[in-house]
Structure formats: C-alpha cells, structure tokens
C-alpha cells in the first residue's frame, strides 16, 4: 500500500465513523442484532425423499441425472463417456481409481503446469463433489483431491459429477454452508451454464460445460 493509499484508508474509515455518529455505542452486538426466524429447511422429508427432490431439481435445470449403486458406477461412467464420444477425460488426482476402471478413454491428469488452452482440447471431466443441495438442485465443489482444480470442471464441455447418496446430500442452502470450509475455493453448480440475458429468458449453454451429468451413487458408504 502506497502512502497515498494509506491516507485513503484513514480517510474512508474516518468518513465512516463520522457518518455513524448517531449509532449508540451500546447497540446490540451481531449475535443479537439478527433474528433468524427463517427455516433451516423447507418442509419435512425422509432421506429418500430428499434425494428424490435433488434429482428432480437437478433435472429441472437441465442437468442429466443417473442413478446406480457403487458396483455399477464404473460401467455407468464408461457408458456416459462412450455416448458422448469423448476421446479424453480430465481426472482429478484423488478420484477413486475404480470409477474409471471400465473405460479406456485417454486420461488427462489435472496438473498445475498445463495451460488452459491444453485443457480446452479435453472432451470431458469426471469429479466427485463436496455436498449437494436438494431444494435448489445444486452440487458444490470445494477443490478437494477428488474434485481437482476449479478450471477442470469449467473448460471441458462435458462434466460428469458423482454424488454419494444419501450422505453427501443436504436439504437446504443453510445446511450446505455448514458443511463447507470457507477457506477452500468453492463452486456452486446448478445445471449447465445458462444465461437470461436475451429477453430475460433462460437459455442453456454459454461458457461453462454445456452438458452436466450427475450420477447419484447409492450405498457408497456401505461398501467402504
């Protein structure tokens, strides 16, 4: 910070303090200033119903939803890559080996030294996720080893995201935030890339992956 900027810092803070001269010193602290009368989740559902709602809301925003069990996952992923005609797939460093056991599509490891242009030539990407939100149909990535760098789920046009159900599914946004570490970079994804910029109507497919496939895999916890 230059000395000029330092003086701007003091100037702005001084202006703020003068502007707030009317605010009493003993005003309620943050904990008491905000009443949180809103709901932690909307409605009551069984675990299975919450997973069902996730599937519905994902599909409502044009994500393609698949369901299988742990044993069937490798063949589902292989099938999706085959249908897509993918020649290459980006793979985060911590992705479970078994998930790609049934496919011989060229694997492109997620490496810091590769350029974005190189990634642009990769057809698909397979990742896990950190948490999924049923009420909004959202999957959240937090850069963990099984999800990789943020760019690998951005530049390729086809994203396959595996959600372990029910343990990775929460009902609501408040519950999702509780599970996330704010110090990790997070990406919340609700359907494929879209825009409302032409006549305020939603159209899918701009800069992010235009095809988002979400595989809800059952019983992942039991088999581990």
């Amino acid at each position: 910070m230059s000395s000029r900027e330092r003086s701007s810092r003091e100037r702005i803070l001084g202006r703020v303090r003068r502007a707030l001269a009317d605010v009493p010193r003993e005003e309620a602290p943050y904990e008491r200033a905000v009443e949180r009368d809103y709901l932690r989740e909307h409605g009551t559902r069984t675990v299975a119903e919450t997973v069902e709602l996730l599937a519905e809301n994902l599909a409502d925003y044009r994500a393609v939803v698949h369901r299988c069990d742990e044993d069937g996952l490798p063949s589902v992923i292989a099938g999706l890559l085959r249908e897509r005609g993918a020649a290459s797939v980006a793979v985060p460093p911590g992705l479970e080996e078994a998930w790609l056991a049934d496919t011989d599509v060229t694997r492109v490891p997620d490496r810091a030294e590769d350029t974005a242009a190189a990634l642009d030539r990769v057809d698909s990407v397979v990742t896990a996720c950190a948490v999924a939100v049923a009420e909004t149909g959202t999957i959240v990535l937090d850069g963990s080893p099984d999800q990789g760098r943020r760019r690998i789920t951005l530049v390729p046009d086809h994203h396959i995201c595996v959600v372990r159900v029910p343990e990775q599914v929460v009902a609501s946004v408040p519950q999702a935030l509780e599970r996330l570490d704010p110090l990790r970079p997070s990406t919340w994804i609700s359907g494929p890339s879209a825009t409302s910029d032409i006549e305020l109507d939603r159209v899918e497919g701009v800069h992010g992956p235009r095809t988002l496939e979400v595989v809800l895999v059952d019983g992942a916890a039991a088999s581990r």
Partner: protein, 493 residues
C-alpha cells in the same frame, strides 16, 4: 467504448424521448413481464420469504452501522489469506489503482466479469486511456460493449435490445474485437449464446489478468462471492494469473453463515431461479488453483456520504438484484437510459442522487422519477423503503439542508426550479392555519368554478401537462357539513 452519462438531460426530457420509441417499449414490456411472473413463482416456493427478507435487512443494517469495524476485519482476513487490500476514496483513485496494477503485470488486456462497481467508476474508459483493452465477458455486457451502447438494467444491461438487434450487433461488430460471428447466425437465443461462447473463448484462454466485482465479502474469513449464470465469471476468476476485484464497501456481510440468507433471496429476486447456475467463493489465493495474485480494491465513491444520511443509508443494503426495476411502471415505460446512471430504476433513483449528490439536473430530477406506488419496496429482498427515501430526497432537493459530500458536511441550497412549488406550499400552510381565510378561499373557488382553466398557467403548466386538474365542487365540504349537519338532515344535496 460505451457511452457516457455526463451531461444527461433531466429524467422527464430523457423519458419523453424513450416512451416514443415503440421498439424499446415492446422489448421492455416483454422482458419485465416475463420476469415478474417468474419471480413471484420462485418467491412463493419458500414459505419463509418474509423472515429471510427481514434477516437480510438486519444483517445488512447491522454491518452498515458498524462498518468501520467490519472494513478492518475484511482487510485483516484478506491479507492473512494472501490477498492485497487497497482503499479508493473515489472513482479516480480506484481507476488509478487498477490501472497501475494492470500495468505492473505488463499486460495490455484484461477480461472482466460483469460488475456494477467498475461500471460506476468508468474503469473500462480509464483502462482504455492507459492503453489497456478491457473485454466484457457477460453476454449482456458484451452486447452493450459491441453495440457502443450504454447499460439500461442492473442485471441485464442489454435488456433494451431484442434478439434481432443482438444478432445484428454480433454480425456487424464481433470481427472488430476478435473472432467474427458464425456465418448465417440466426436470432435464436441458443445460437446467439453459442456465438458469444466462440467469440470469448480465445480471450479467456489467453487472459493473464481478470477484473471482477463481488456480490458479497465475508468479513470473518475474507471470502469473496460472485453469483453468475454463464460461467464467464468462473473463467475470469480462475484462469488468469492476476485477479483484481473492485468492491463497494457496502458489500460486506459479517459471517460465512450470513450467506445462507442471501444465496436464497438473491437468485430468486434477480433471475427468478431457485439457484443461479454458478456461484464462486474464494478466500485470498489458493496454492496451485486459480490466480496467484489477488488484489481487493475497497471503493467508497459516495458510499460514506450516503451512510451519513440516517434515512437514505438504507439504500446501501441493496444487493443489486434488480427486482425493483422489473416491477416498476415508470422503468417499464421510460427504460434504463433515462435515469442517466449505471443504476437505473427505483434503486437508481435513490442511489445515484446520494452517491453523486443532487447538483446536476439529472440527479436532482431522479427522486421524482417515480409514482410512489411502492411496488419496489414490496419486492425488495432487503426491504429498502424506496418510496420513503424518494420523498426524503425530494425534500432535500426542494428545501436544501444538511448533507455530506466527499466526507464534508455541507448545507445544500434549495434547488432552482422549485420556487413555485415552495411558494404554493407556503401559501397553503398560511391558509390552512387560518380557518377564516380557508373558508373564504374555498367559497371563492366554488363560485368561480365555471371559469377555471383545464391546465395551469405559468410554472404550473409542467405539473398539469401529465395530470387532470381536480374539479372544484359547487359547494365547499365544510359548508355542506354545516348546512346538513353531516348529512343527518337527509338533505344531502
């Protein structure tokens, strides 16, 4: 480059032009009505909307009332997470800081995420003057930039353009800026989106510097949040080596948990979605993932002046959702350009005159750019009482009085052009406090009613140009009351 707002005519003149443009009227009507119905549906889905709205209001109010503390907390947290914090008292200083930072990287182009703060300070123009080209990457911003146009909506700056016009702009202009539009481009929205994807991809892939704003800054952790749809935000936030975020000081929320309110209310209020396609959060820099250098520029530019006004400061709660624009009958007819600011619509009518002061003709006229119907207040997800602030600002324009400009307390002089209004109000006050005078005046008005003009002469002409003068009754109410004892005599006539 996009046009400038300097020297804009007052709202009534600009609006008169706009309402004659039938294409514009049609485009705006179509877009605002589409989104209105959708928003109502998205909001009705959550039964605790009123509670979320109240919590959002309280979080923002609390933060604003202790803003000095939270600003220091943001600075400490962002610095601890590997970011560099800068402070900009006004637009000029913010532009200088960003320009110097870009120059220091040796780059001559930047990719930009849609950001109201950088629009407000005219960053693109400042960068251009320094030989740096700024590429807007949001679809609507791209349409505005390619069309050498001005933004007319907070969320969808090209809302005044229909698909046919967008096709025409893309076909004509894209080749000037990079990859031309595809041959035989039609006006289907999907094809237009595809054209933008192809045009911008090469820019994303080679960009070394990204510039953004932020929807929220979390004080306790130093986390920034960008809420978007297209993925252009993710591109700008993760691919470049250097990221510069310009953020108004009112964007702070105290805790990570507070996002649970706004991530529910913002998407529903803006694009009428349960959730927008992409939300990115980042805290400083992350080893091996995303930009290696992160700068946060904290921008004042009139915000502390706004904060000093006890009635007007609630405008700083705004989360830029644009729901108030979409429901406003005045905005729907006049369009965004008439407001002469990057902040149009009801929120613009209370924000622009506070951020910029009421000296210019356009800013002094903005508090009047409303019918005070209150639809804006009703849809506002942080419950800004826009009509209250409008009336407060009208009072300031007409009567003058104390205000804060660039951190200094000043006493504003009453605006010119309101002398007749002030005289009429003074006369009314005099008459209403003297029953005899009032009675005599009313009787005189009733007896002469055949000779009353349909429009007012002189300075009153502008007022009656858009309104019908009320007809004076044959008998003043108070005379009728006395004569009939309030109608009890049965002699109502």
């Amino acid at each position: 480059m996009s046009g400038t707002f300097v020297g804009m005519p007052a709202f009534p003149e600009a609006a008169r032009e706009a309402v004659r443009d039938t294409t514009l009227r049609g485009n705006l009507r179509h877009a605002t009505h589409t989104i209105r119905a959708k928003r109502a549906k998205a909001v009705a889905e959550v039964e605790d909307w009123a509670e979320l709205r109240e919590a959002g209001k309280r979080i923002k109010d609390h933060t604003l009332r202790h803003l000095d503390r939270y600003l220091e907390q943001v600075e400490a947290a962002v610095t601890a997470a590997g970011g560099v914090v800068h402070w900009a008292a006004d637009a000029e200083e913010a532009n200088r800081i960003v320009t110097d930072l870009v120059k220091a990287t040796g780059e001559s182009e930047v990719v930009k995420v849609k950001s109201m703060a950088t629009q407000e300070i005219g960053l693109n123009e400042a960068l251009e003057a320094a030989g740096v080209r700024a590429y807007e990457t949001d679809l609507a911003e791209l349409i505005v930039q390619l069309g050498k146009d001005r933004p007319s909506h907070i969320l969808v700056p090209a809302i005044h353009r229909n698909r046919g016009e967008i096709r025409e702009i893309f076909t004509r202009e894209m080749s000037e800026w990079g990859r031309p539009a595809p041959e035989g481009l039609t006006d289907t929205p999907a094809e237009l989106a595809e054209a933008a994807r192809l045009h911008l991809r090469e820019k994303f892939l080679r960009a070394k510097v990204g510039v953004s704003g932020a929807n929220f800054v979390v004080a306790e952790t130093g986390t920034l949040v960008v809420v978007e749809s297209e993925g252009n935000g993710r591109m700008c936030l993760t691919l470049p080596e250097t990221l510069i975020s310009v953020v108004g000081i009112e964007k702070i929320v105290p805790t990570w948990r507070d996002l649970e309110v706004f991530l529910q209310t913002l998407p529903r209020s803006s694009t009428a979605e349960r959730m927008n396609p992409y939300t990115s959060t980042w805290t400083g820099t992350t080893d091996g993932d995303g930009p290696r250098v992160f700068h946060l520029v904290l921008l004042d530019n009139g915000r502390t002046d706004t904060l000093a006004d006890e009635v007007g400061r609630q405008a700083l709660r705004c989360i830029r959702c644009s729901a108030c624009l979409n429901v406003c009958p005045v905005y729907e007819r006049a369009g965004g350009h008439a407001y002469g600011s990057v902040y149009p619509g009801p929120i613009g009518a209370i924000l622009s005159p506070q951020l910029r002061g009421t000296d210019s003709e356009i800013d002094a006229s903005l508090p009047y750019a409303s019918s005070l119907c209150g639809a804006c207040y009703e849809v506002c997800p942080v419950a800004i009482d826009i009509p209250e602030v409008l009336v407060h600002l009208r009072e300031r324009v007409v009567q003058g009085g104390p205000a804060t400009r660039a951190g200094n307390r000043v006493v504003l002089r009453p605006a010119k052009g309101h002398a007749a209004e002030r005289a009429a109000m003074r006369a009314a006050q005099w008459a209403f406090t003297r029953p005899g005078v009032l009675r005599a005046g009313q009787r005189m008005a009733s007896r002469t009613r055949r000779f009353h003009p349909r429009t007012l002469p002189g300075p009153g002409r502008a007022w009656s140009a858009g309104r019908d003068l009320p007809r004076v009754p044959a008998e003043p109410f108070r005379d009728w009351w006395q004569r009939t004892r309030g109608g009890k005599d049965g002699a109502a006539e």
